[in-house]
Amino acid sequence: MFSRAYKAAVTLPPLVWVAAFLLTPYLLMFSYSFWSVSPAQTIVHSWSLGNYSELARVDVYWQTLLRSMWIAARVTIFSLLLGYPLAYFLSFYGGKKKDLLYQLVIIPLWVSYLVRAYAWKTILGSDGVLNTLLQYVHATKHPLEFLLYSPFAVVLTLTHIYTPFAFLPIYAALEHIPRNLVEASHDLGASPGQTFWKIIFPLSIPGVIAGATFAFVLSLGDFLAPLLLGGPSGIMISNIVVSLFGAAYNWPLGAAISFCMLLLVVSLLFFSERLEKKWSYA
């Protein structure tokens, strides 16, 4: 239909873009991960697997990665627990206000991430809104210290931030379920509960997988929430990468961690896409 020259002309710009701003940096990062830093703080361009063997050897990296995954897993679970019912009620019982309510769910995404993270800081701090309230009603004598600078604060903040990301694909999946399937289920004698578990939920699984992937991947790589609210016990893997590229000046090791993370995330995306396909019947 279109000439070869035309096809080449329209495919070239995006290709150049991807090559310049995606492939090249990744390639650079990948190269760095095999290099090392000399005692004189210069990058030594000699190829070795030293950084990767250090990652395998030193416990703190593994432990931080596992903790990050555990935090991300909790964020995912809470985002789904909040996002699914929200999406369900909006999709099936939203009525005329559906669009307005949908916008209300989206609006927080327009507010700066930093502002939302700082908001939690003022809520959770020892002189924060929550502790002041708890002491005022005599629920506690002393401010609760675990609220801020803890994995709890990180999970809470990330859940708040990423719930809309879990909500959106679930909502889209629910909206795509033909309503006559629900009617057919009721018609065949299934109660609303049976209809949910036998028809609605199975058909929404691709959305749940997509939402879970968003929440998990985004929170796994997060470094601002742990930085602002995590404290020493809430450090995540990205904070280590940040410090390696910054104060610690060990770009090669940072690049090696980044590359491992990238591999983890890409295989996760691949896996979740396969899973989504398996569950979709469009």
Binding site: P178, N180, E183, G189, Y281
Partner: protein, 367 residues
């Protein structure tokens, strides 16, 4: 399908005189300011095949959805066998529906779709597999039991939808334009199959369609709905032969509507007149094209009404042909005559028997 629901029936006309299975009493429905149904009362007998016929927007699907429980009646009641139906949720009604686009569950196999109603009712697995097997056998879909709905054709999906509803042994089956998505040949075939299946299982069917031919072929009775009101409820023969209103006469088959008046026991319409037993006043008559004949020199009956005219158009239909005749006084008549080799042209004489001109009421459309 099974012995306990198969009620032996010898004659259809008997069934309409039985105690009604379903009774719709003064049902009305509006969506906002839009009146969809107005004071509908209708009985359906056990084992009857009733068709709700109407144009799109006539309210036929809404009426069906009220019976199934997907819409609530604005006012009025629906009763089924001594039980008030309209206050039960759809999943408590012993009514099953075949949906217009089948609404098969895409994530379940054909077999699982058919088993759905029995599974949610927590029937024993042995009974489920026996009944599902039997139902699939009945609609000739056993070979596709393990297929997902997306892998089978429209006609096959239609059969599965039917099996999925019938396997629950409902007292009443609702069918919402189930054949409208099929192509013409398959559609005719399914009409016959559906009708004989209904005879076999003996379940009452309420069948919604906009296709008058389909309604005529399949139904024991037709309820013709127009703008949310019932125009006529009668057997196909009666509704065709003795249409109650001008709308019915025109909607079902072809007709000639003769507008005129009645005075002193004579109907007058242009130059035509014939004796009629009707009160004086403005009147309308429906005269079917096949009730007009080409008149020969020696007329068959002395009291037939004769009129001369000129053929202006002819359409060949195989066994018959329809000709348009412009008569004296500007009256246009459509005439159905047996097809001849060369067709009919020029000046002709027509005749009809007075009793074939059926007086019909004018029923103005209400909005």
């Amino acid at each position: 399908m099974s012995t306990d629901v198969s009620i032996a029936r010898s004659d259809v006309s008997v069934s309409t005189q039985r105690f009604p299975l379903l009774s719709i009493r003064n049902v009305a429905k509006r969506f906002g300011k839009n009146v969809v149904l107005r004071d509908i009362s209708l009985d359906v007998a056990e084992g009857e095949f009733l068709t709700i016929l109407g144009e799109s927007g006539s309210g036929k699907t809404t009426l069906l959805r009220i019976i199934a429980g997907f819409e609530s009646a604005g006012s009025g009641e629906v009763w089924m066998a001594e039980e008030r139906l309209d206050q039960l949720p759809p999943y408590r009604r012993r009514v099953n529906t075949v949906f217009q686009h089948y609404a098969l569950f895409p994530h379940l196999t054909v077999e699982e779709n058919v088993a759905y109603g029995l599974r949610v009712a927590k029937r024993p697995e042995a009974e489920i597999s026996a009944r599902v097997g039997e139902a699939l056998e009945k609609v000739k879909m056993s070979a596709h039991a393990k297929a997902k709905p997306a892998k089978i054709s429209g006609g096959q999906q239609q059969r599965v939808a039917l099996a999925r509803a019938l396997v629950n042994r409902p007292q009443l089956l609702l069918l919402d334009e189930p054949l409208s998505a099929l192509d013409a040949n398959l559609r005719r075939q399914m009409q016959v199959e559906l009708k004989s299946l209904q005879r076999e299982v003996g379940i009452s069917f309420i069948f919604v369609t906009h296709d008058q031919e389909e309604a005529m072929v399949m139904s024991d009775r037709i309820a013709l709905l127009r703008s949310g009101e019932l125009e006529q409820v009668a057997t196909p023969r009666e509704i065709y032969g003795r249409p109650a209103t001008a709308y019915v006469a025109q909607f079902i088959g072809h007709t000639n509507l003769l507008k005129g008046e009645v005075r002193d026991g004579m109907a007058r319409c242009g130059l035509l007149q014939w004796p009629v037993a009707a009160p004086d006043g403005i009147a309308q008559f429906s005269l079917r094209p096949e009730n007009l004949r080409l008149a020969t020199e020696k007329s068959t009956s002395p009291d037939s009404v004769r009129v001369r005219g000129r053929v202006v158009q002819q359409a060949f239909h195989g066994a018959t042909e329809l000709i348009r005749v412009e008569c004296a006084g500007g009256l246009m008549l459509t005439v159905r005559i047996p097809a001849s080799r060369s067709g009919v042209t020029g000046e002709i004489a027509l005749e009809f028997s007075p009793e074939d001109a059926i007086p019909v009421r004018e029923s103005p459309e209400r909005i």
